[in-house]
Amino acid sequence: MYSLNYHRASSVADAVKLQKKGEDAKFVSGGMTLIPAMKSRLAAPSDLVDLAHIAEMKGIKVSGKTVTIGGGTTHAEVATDAKLKAVCPALSYLASHIGDPHVRHKGTIGGSIANNDPAADYPAAMLALGATIITNKREIAADKFFTGLFETALKDGEIVTGVSFTAPAQAAYEKFRNPASRYAIVGVFVAKGKDGVRVAVTGAGDEGVFRAKGMEAALTKSFVPASLDGLAIPASGLMSDMHASAEYRSSLITVMAKRAVAKASA
């Protein structure tokens, strides 16, 4: 790769201390994005602070409808946790379809959220679930956390130590995946909670993950797929690339949203 320093943090406080010492130190969790980025020199931190051995950042707690997931919890652990599956199977399903087994065994929810890839799955879930992102310094509402392409509200030295949310009465995630990378070309997470319906779209937006408020209003009135008939997100704010045009993504959002509503109601 290139010459760098490696530090294994034993606690969140230790990680913060180690990160401050480095010239341009970065936290690494599963490393499923950062390590390839370093190999291709898209990122070149001087130091890596490994968060993978911090016990306080691991595990899933379910108490009634309140779910708390440690930032260091892997996708495979989220996908297979029986307590989580009982209260929010939509999130278990989402985690079980991230990347491939190799990625799911190492990649973590905190790392994915902090990276905020515009085609990542978790940001859609966090927005639709109205989750709270917990850091070592504060708690941030998901609505305020994801601020742009690979951009978040995180400040230097801030670590996503966990997330929490109230399990919704009904929810589902549907994604039209890239057949090679399995990233979302379009992914839609729909959640019906006590304050109405929330719909979040990943893979499609020019500025990353976003909420489809028009669809939310229609589904809050009537939570059936037909409520979305004739509703579409305009192509003007959507991404175009070799995988799909903005117009195609616009069409896919409505299709995926309808499928998610049907699945959540099944």
Partner: protein
């Protein structure tokens, strides 16, 4: 630079090595320890040729740093056969001719072993989903899937 001292377990044996912070576990296995079964295909976690099992979980060793193996359990293709006795997966890969050039084969065997450890009786769809992180450019996958199905039935009967 002296490097980082790492103590780990590889295929049941205690192993200690020195490595630089920028070396991947794949680099360490191949270049420092002489375990060349895991291959470097893409080096970016897409192809699975470098598959190993780390603490009971299938991962790409090209995306794990050598330093990360400290205190953990590593299983590689070199630990799969029992002396001269092949693992049922290895035997069935030969019988079904589930390989051509062979560079992806160690990765597929490790991935299939991990899959069957979790799900001893997978459907064809589950096998294809479970092996999705391993690419083969020769076989078209069909023979690999059949070899895994056959090995699974042998292993269930054992």
């Amino acid at each position: 630079m002296a490097g980082l001292a790492v103590s780990t377990t590889i295929n049941g044996d205690s192993v200690e090595y020195l490595c630089q912070p920028d070396e991947t576990l794949l680099d360490v296995l191949r270049d420092r320890l002489g375990l060349t079964g895991a291959k470097e295909g893409c080096g970016t976690g897409d192809c699975g040729a470098c598959s190993i099992i780390l603490d009971g979980r299938l991962v790409c060793s090209c995306l794990v740093l050598g330093a990360e193996a400290e205190g953990r359990r590593v299983e590689t293709i070199e630990g799969m056969a029992d002396g001269d006795v092949l693992h049922p997966l290895q035997q069935k890969f030969i019988e079904h001719a589930a390989l051509q050039c062979g560079i992806c084969t160690p990765g597929f065997l490790i991935a299939a072993k991990d899959l069957l450890a979790r799900n001893p009786d997978p459907t064809e769809e589950e096998i294809r989903f479970g092996l999705a992180g391993n690419l083969c450019r020769c076989t078209g996958y069909d023979k690999i899937v059949r070899a895994v199905q056959d090995a699974a039935s042998v292993m269930r009967a054992a």
